[in-house]
C-alpha cells in the first residue's frame, strides 16, 4: 500500500477523511485481531431483532421483508469471502473453482467462522428438472435462536439474512446465484429440529454451463 494515512494533514490533499494522530485507523489494525474474538450472543440477538423490526416497518409483505434481510447480508458475504480466504494457510488459499468446492467452503469455513460450527448437510436437488439447485441445511440456525415467528407470518424465515450472506459469497466467487431460506422443521410434537432451515441455492445457467464445459475437458 503506497499511502497509509498518518493523520497529519499535508496541506496538499484536498478534503479527504481525517484520521486520529495516534494511528487508530483500520489501516493500522491487524486484520486478524478479531478473528477469534468473542462477544455475547445476547448482543447479537438484540441487534438482529432491531434490524428485523426496523425492516418490517418498511415493507408490506413477507417476501419483501426477506428480500430486505437478504440485501443486508449480501455485502457481508462479498467481503467475508476475501477475508476468510486471506486467513487460510497459503496452500489452501485458492478460491473455489467449482460448485462443490464452493459449497464446501460455505459449509465449513463460512459457517465455522460465523456460527462456531459447520452447517449440518449439503444436498443436490434430486429433481432432474432443477440441476441448478443445491441445498445447505442448518438444523438450528443461530440467528433464529431467539426469534419466534407469529402464526400469521409462518412463511417468514429470518435466516434470509444468512441466505444473503451466502449469496454474497457465491456472487463474489463468480458463481452468481439466488439464495433463499426455508423452514422445513414442521410443527409436530417430538420434532427433533423444529427450526431446521434449508438454504436453497439456485445457480445462474451460465454457472452450470461453465461447470459442464470444464468437466468435458478433464
Amino acid at each position: 500500500m503506497s499511502h497509509v494515512p498518518t493523520g497529519k494533514p499535508t496541506g496538499k490533499e484536498p478534503a479527504g477523511l481525517r484520521y486520529p494522530t495516534n494511528g487508530k485507523t483500520i489501516y493500522h489494525r491487524p486484520l486478524n485481531r478479531s478473528k477469534t474474538a468473542e462477544l455475547s450472543q445476547s448482543s447479537f440477538a438484540y441487534l438482529f431483532s432491531e434490524m428485523v423490526t426496523y425492516a418490517q416497518r418498511r415493507v408490506t409483505g413477507i417476501q419483501e421483508l426477506e428480500k430486505r434481510l437478504n440485501n443486508q447480508g449480501h455485502p457481508i458475504g462479498l467481503k467475508l469471502l476475501d477475508l476468510l480466504l486471506i486467513r487460510e494457510p497459503a496452500r489452501s488459499q485458492t478460491r473455489p473453482l467449482n460448485i462443490i468446492s464452493l459449497l464446501q467452503f460455505i459449509k465449513m469455513s463460512l459457517w465455522q467462522h460465523l456460527f462456531g460450527r459447520q452447517a449440518d448437510r449439503l444436498e443436490k436437488s434430486s429433481n432432474p428438472d432443477t440441476p441448478d439447485e443445491y441445498m445447505i441445511i442448518d438444523n438450528e440456525p443461530l440467528v433464529n435462536a431467539y426469534i419466534s415467528v407469529p402464526r400469521e407470518m409462518s412463511q417468514l424465515n429470518c435466516a434470509a439474512y444468512v441466505a444473503g450472506i451466502v449469496e454474497g459469497v457465491c456472487d463474489g466467487a463468480a458463481f452468481p446465484a439466488r439464495v433463499t431460506a426455508h423452514s422445513v422443521g414442521g410443527n409436530e410434537d417430538g420434532e427433533m429440529w423444529p427450526g431446521k432451515t434449508v438454504f436453497l441455492l439456485k445457480f445462474q445457467p451460465e454457472v452450470l454451463e461453465r461447470e459442464a464445459l470444464i468437466a468435458s475437458k478433464v
Partner: protein, 193 residues
C-alpha cells in the same frame, strides 16, 4: 457500595462463566449493515441516522436491563451515580461487549461523567464515507447512547447520553458523555375515587 475493583472482578467473572458467546465479527458486521441500511434509507441524512440508532438502542436498553440484572445478580440498588458509572463500565459493557471503557471527567456535582473507549468492537472494520459530511455529522456507535438511556430508565434513572468524540471522525479518542437528569420517582397508580 461496590468498589471499582470489585465491580471489575464481577464483570470478568460473569463474562467468563455466564455468557453465551458468538464470534465477534458476526455481531460487528451485523451492526455495520444496520448503520449502512439506515444511511441508505435516510439518504445520508446523518442527523436522522443518529436519531434512529439512538431509538434502536433505547428499545434494546429497555430489554437488556433485565438480562443485566439476572446475570449480574445484583439485586441491590447502586448507592449513588458514581457507583452506577462503575457498574455500567465494568459490568455492563464487559458482559455485553467484552470491553471496559474508562470512567473519567466527572463534574464536581457527580452528575456527569465520560466513558472513554480504548476499544470499540462496533467500529472494527469501519471507515466513514468520504463525503465531506459523515465525519462531521454521523455518530457511528450512537446506538450505545440509546442502550444506556433505555436501560437506566428502567431502573429509575433519567439520563442523557451523547458522543463528543470518535476516532472514526479523526479524533484521538472515542468519548461518550453521560448526564443524570433525575431519579424517576416510582409512579403510584392513579387513585380510585
Amino acid at each position: 457500595m461496590m468498589s471499582a475493583s470489585k465491580a471489575s472482578r464481577l464483570g470478568e467473572e460473569i463474562w467468563k462463566t455466564r455468557i453465551d458467546k458468538v464470534n465477534s465479527e458476526l455481531v460487528v458486521l451485523t451492526y455495520g449493515t444496520i448503520v449502512a441500511q439506515l444511511c441508505k434509507d435516510f439518504d445520508s441524512d446523518y442527523v436522522e441516522v443518529n436519531k434512529q440508532l439512538d431509538k434502536m438502542g433505547y428499545n434494546i436498553g429497555l430489554r437488556l436491563i433485565e438480562d443485566y440484572l439476572a446475570k449480574s445478580n445484583t439485586m441491590r440498588r447502586c448507592a449513588n451515580f458514581r457507583e452506577t458509572a462503575e457498574m455500567i463500565a465494568k459490568v455492563g459493557f464487559k458482559i455485553f461487549l467484552n470491553i471496559t471503557p474508562t470512567i473519567t471527567n466527572w463534574t464536581s456535582d457527580s452528575k456527569q461523567f465520560s466513558l472513554v473507549f480504548d476499544e470499540n468492537p462496533l467500529a472494527d472494520f469501519v471507515e466513514l464515507p468520504d463525503d465531506g459530511r459523515a465525519q462531521d455529522e454521523l455518530w457511528f456507535s450512537n446506538i450505545l447512547c440509546g442502550v444506556l438511556r433505555g436501560a437506566l430508565e428502567m431502573v429509575q434513572m433519567q439520563v442523557e447520553a451523547h458522543f463528543i468524540s470518535d476516532v472514526l471522525r479523526g479524533n484521538d479518542t472515542t468519548e461518550m458523555r453521560i448526564s443524570l437528569i433525575r431519579y424517576i420517582d416510582d409512579e403510584l397508580p392513579p387513585e380510585d375515587d
